[in-house]
Symmetry: D2
Subunit: 387 residues, 4 copies
Amino acid sequence: MGRHFLQIPGPSPEPDAVLRAISATTIDHRGPEFQQLGLRVLEAVKPVFGTTNPVIIYSSSGTGAWEGALANTLSPGDQVLFYETGHFASLWVEMASRLGLKPEVIDSDWRHGVDAEAIGARLEQDTDHTIKAVCCVHNETSTGVTSDIRAVREAIDRAGHPALLMVDTISGLGSADYRHDEWGVDVTIAGSQKGLMLPPGLGFNAVSDKAIEASRRGGAARSYWDWEPILAANERGFWPTTPSTNLLFGLEVALQMFAEEGLENVLARHQRHAAATRAAVNAWGLEVLCLDEPYHSPVLTAVLMPEGHDADAFRALVLDRFDMSLGAGLGRLAGTVFRIGHLGWINDLTLMGALAGVQMGLRLSGVPVAGDGVAAAMTVLEEGAGA
Amino acid sequence: MGRHFLQIPGPSPEPDAVLRAISATTIDHRGPEFQQLGLRVLEAVKPVFGTTNPVIIYSSSGTGAWEGALANTLSPGDQVLFYETGHFASLWVEMASRLGLKPEVIDSDWRHGVDAEAIGARLEQDTDHTIKAVCCVHNETSTGVTSDIRAVREAIDRAGHPALLMVDTISGLGSADYRHDEWGVDVTIAGSQKGLMLPPGLGFNAVSDKAIEASRRGGAARSYWDWEPILAANERGFWPTTPSTNLLFGLEVALQMFAEEGLENVLARHQRHAAATRAAVNAWGLEVLCLDEPYHSPVLTAVLMPEGHDADAFRALVLDRFDMSLGAGLGRLAGTVFRIGHLGWINDLTLMGALAGVQMGLRLSGVPVAGDGVAAAMTVLEEGAGA
Amino acid sequence: MGRHFLQIPGPSPEPDAVLRAISATTIDHRGPEFQQLGLRVLEAVKPVFGTTNPVIIYSSSGTGAWEGALANTLSPGDQVLFYETGHFASLWVEMASRLGLKPEVIDSDWRHGVDAEAIGARLEQDTDHTIKAVCCVHNETSTGVTSDIRAVREAIDRAGHPALLMVDTISGLGSADYRHDEWGVDVTIAGSQKGLMLPPGLGFNAVSDKAIEASRRGGAARSYWDWEPILAANERGFWPTTPSTNLLFGLEVALQMFAEEGLENVLARHQRHAAATRAAVNAWGLEVLCLDEPYHSPVLTAVLMPEGHDADAFRALVLDRFDMSLGAGLGRLAGTVFRIGHLGWINDLTLMGALAGVQMGLRLSGVPVAGDGVAAAMTVLEEGAGA
Amino acid sequence: MGRHFLQIPGPSPEPDAVLRAISATTIDHRGPEFQQLGLRVLEAVKPVFGTTNPVIIYSSSGTGAWEGALANTLSPGDQVLFYETGHFASLWVEMASRLGLKPEVIDSDWRHGVDAEAIGARLEQDTDHTIKAVCCVHNETSTGVTSDIRAVREAIDRAGHPALLMVDTISGLGSADYRHDEWGVDVTIAGSQKGLMLPPGLGFNAVSDKAIEASRRGGAARSYWDWEPILAANERGFWPTTPSTNLLFGLEVALQMFAEEGLENVLARHQRHAAATRAAVNAWGLEVLCLDEPYHSPVLTAVLMPEGHDADAFRALVLDRFDMSLGAGLGRLAGTVFRIGHLGWINDLTLMGALAGVQMGLRLSGVPVAGDGVAAAMTVLEEGAGA
């Protein structure tokens, strides 16, 4: 009974208007109506990335967009510097290995954002520029920590290093402040099923001129992911292969909603919900995984379970009793962390319902709860409510 | 952003499956596919009313179904005994007057259910049986008080009075225990937009054999509301005029959901949500309008605003800041009462979101709030959650 | 497989955009969002009726709107002059009788429109003005014949008779030219499920000042149908009882589609489809029921079955073999007539599919078919296609 | 006005039930509800391919599934034998080149199916087995010609050659007879937006044991397309990356529709529509592109424009005047061919509407039309209609 509470950090609950839009009959992807749709969507998507350059839209998951970024710019054997902020960063490293690249990884405790200094230091050592790209995750979905991408760019520049900067903001885009052009990112990777509030099925690559040049000079053997035919077809509003037309219907609606609310307001809303959620976690006496104060994710909050309590058993109880999905701990955090998503088509009261569900679930699971997190969250939300 | 919290006592939030069903293209209401639909729906609706007799389905609001009940069984000039439990009872009286009936009203303080003894006493006086019908509201939507309909029937029978018993359970059906046959009701009036979780547009009359006989013997001049041609056409699954086919699509889905959950579970769920809501109101130090302990409505809770505070200003703030609709005080309760609906396609966490919205709204409105109602509600919901 | 061909003269196939609109969650019918919707819809509906006066919208079928027209303006015992153009006119007469009015009927052969002269002649005889209203059907759904309403008004005026003019354009509105104000109609009756391309569930009364005055002075005992409280509430965008909100969502979309296409284009489109259909019927060597050349309905075409062939058996075969619903012969036309609807969300190719289905069905039914009606229809449609 | 006629050879019109299914809110792709969905869909999809082996489902277009087939089984430098039946076969060759394979192409006139003898002859010459795979298109979407895949397998076997057999049935699956296991295909490539009647966004690889072995032994550097992690996750109903959940919702519904209708009936229906379409083309005096009598596609019919007439101008006129999309001539057929799709959620009358649109469009374009193709098509459809 009632709407399921989908409080994982993506896929996120979609607006009804988006869902209705994707339920229209598919149109001819070679016809004039599609062409106008294509041109509108390709233009309207740019501001969300903070770019005036093209944005490639793949029929794929976000993972596919990772592969697109790597395949277009790097050749087998190329060395790539990754910063492992969490599980998804580690999966991207694994992909790079499988694709024949040579990933080098700066490890971390999975509780902080990217250490731009460490990246800079490594690049300074790389005097013959064997490192071809630096890859970071902007909003690490497994930990709820964001990273200072501008600082990474500055560190690369300070090192005078020509490496490309590639950033995964799959779960950040449309929820956390992001500026592809201003921050000097070369390839930005995103997906449809997070802040864009669409079903999964679209992957994105926002590309700098430098990235496009790199793709023209080299990259891996590639076809599906190849930017060139897509960019060429996109100029007239088309795709070289059959696009996910129905998701593009939805994307147009979602982008209109962004434009109406105003991107700044969208970001402020996420920050507010994140602050309320952290207030709840603190009141419960639980520990937020992120230790990096300015880098708490506005998209999700990862919470450490107290010793002796299994996060997955807790999540199963919450699902069973309260019909709410929470995110699991991933990789080395499995069983010890649960994640509360606060993105997508939700509002203050949805969030309060979700936090009430967490609080009741904790108590029913026998987890010691220090105080009333729901009350603490309300205190945060009362300020500036509806402003 | 996010789904609106529709916490009025109806129309209630519809299940997605119901909304999808009503969005199918209308079919030929004279064809075999419709016929099968008609037969299925007319049969499946009976258990919700607790009847094995026919249920008439009008294309109308619930108000229309009031008129159907009166027009089929009573003739202009007939005397009818009403018990005024609240605003909707008073509107029904007004309708009776407009239709040329002679309503006699037993007044009340709008904070208790029907006093069956008072009805019995009045009927005993009516030795020449000028009173043709007794009309009561089962779940008074304006006050959040239910009434003991079985007791009313018993009082009528004890008085040895032949009056028909007509009961409005527009906002009770599908949420509060109701038994047309067992309680000896002659005409039960209901609507689609409350516990049945459909959009407004269908009105219902469940009818006893005695009521049908009365309609054959007399009643007012009537056409649209006339049971006879409807009952005749319904036998083969049809309607004499164009039915609201798309709402019947939705009704079938809603009734399937009832059958799957089990009517007893549906009723228990409403009771649980009502108990949690009252716990919140009590904790806030506010007064529930209903003073009749066993007759708190499982559908809605009406709350008295403290002196000096305007319920409508509070509701406007809640709508503006938290995108939640609450019910207004009606009639003599205007401005002094607000109503929280807890019916329709909601669950524990929806209710917690709603109560959090009320609590935040009260504080932001400057209403003195004694304690944490949200916490009190969670205590109720933790017990038997998901059971 | 495939979309059902719903080629009855209503309910008509709804636009996808309308169906999506009605599938939105119902909103608070007492809140500000509804108020704006109400004000917009009540204004936007007027041009389709050709009026600047109010239009009452009931939660009811079109039949209910008949009752609304009669109940507000006429008192039991009032004499009313009906012109029986077909089955629906006869049903309206039957309703009048049931409601205690005294209908007087000018009969016809059901193959022509209203004979305004006959009405005028009758009114001239009625020197003491016992006839209170003249009731006609503008587009007789059972016969496919329209009537010259302007001529009826002129005949009434020439007779210097004060009778109200009430017109049923349930199946004409939005498809056939109609001008409430210009033609001097007092009450126009319509429904949602025909030219307005909505599901059934809304009934309409467009009202002249004279009709409103009549309703204030008299009319029958009434409540649900009473214009006065509706007009009063409508002034602020509301309804006195719970309106069919979801159908109002759809009505707004349908009216926007009308505004975009332009009412003149809408009417021309129906005329074109009707002409193509008649060309097909003529080519088949079958007889169109309507014998009144200028009054062929743009909404539907009724076709006489040749002797010895059962129209209902033919319709059943078409439904079974080609998944198309055609309209039955009604009343005295049962079994001898079938009706092809050409209204609602259809286009040239839908119509061609429908006519092909009729032609194949005729042949498979063993009905002698003189020539290729489909080819004849194409010849009509080729002219001005897409213009 | 009215539903667009989408008569391209895919994307095809989706059933309303499919569109409603994909408009449900996305669920947690790591939760138990998804798991059950995954297990059901992965099992239910097998019969459509005629396999009991696993079917990999990608979030991608059909083109992505081509890449999946190649990347898992072939290593850069591997020689692959392609048979160019048309434009899509040539695009697949181009992909193979881009991915570093060495395609060898047996050319054709694009008007016949695969010449299995020619493939056998080539393989017999390849005594050292440098050819690693034979790639064919089962239903060539650009030409409307199918191929005898069983004969190709037999030719490979007669040559005693170990090459893998990879078959693209992107536009054939669910419309044309296909038997992955029985015909000994190693990798079958398909997509969602054709016979499966879904929006684009899913790519499929049905895989033989031999293909899986080949992928374990070798293949290209790969990640997104890698079968192994998908097969492993699929065993429990999950995917390693975020799947296109909403399309899986739709896929389940489409597969249920297949099961209800029966795959044989589905195939017969397509054959019947194809026969009716060819009868129309012949009657018009136009030439069907396919010259291979038993290999006319049941999915689409490609038609040659007479000299001096531009197929694209004709298609533009049909779109403008009759709101119907037809397929363009592709590659070397551009401008000289148009294609009529007869797949997806259509029925006899939809097809008749489409053929009427083509016939009227031809006449309005000034193309000499010998006879009445619409009449000819009706003659075909009358036989066995609805059987």
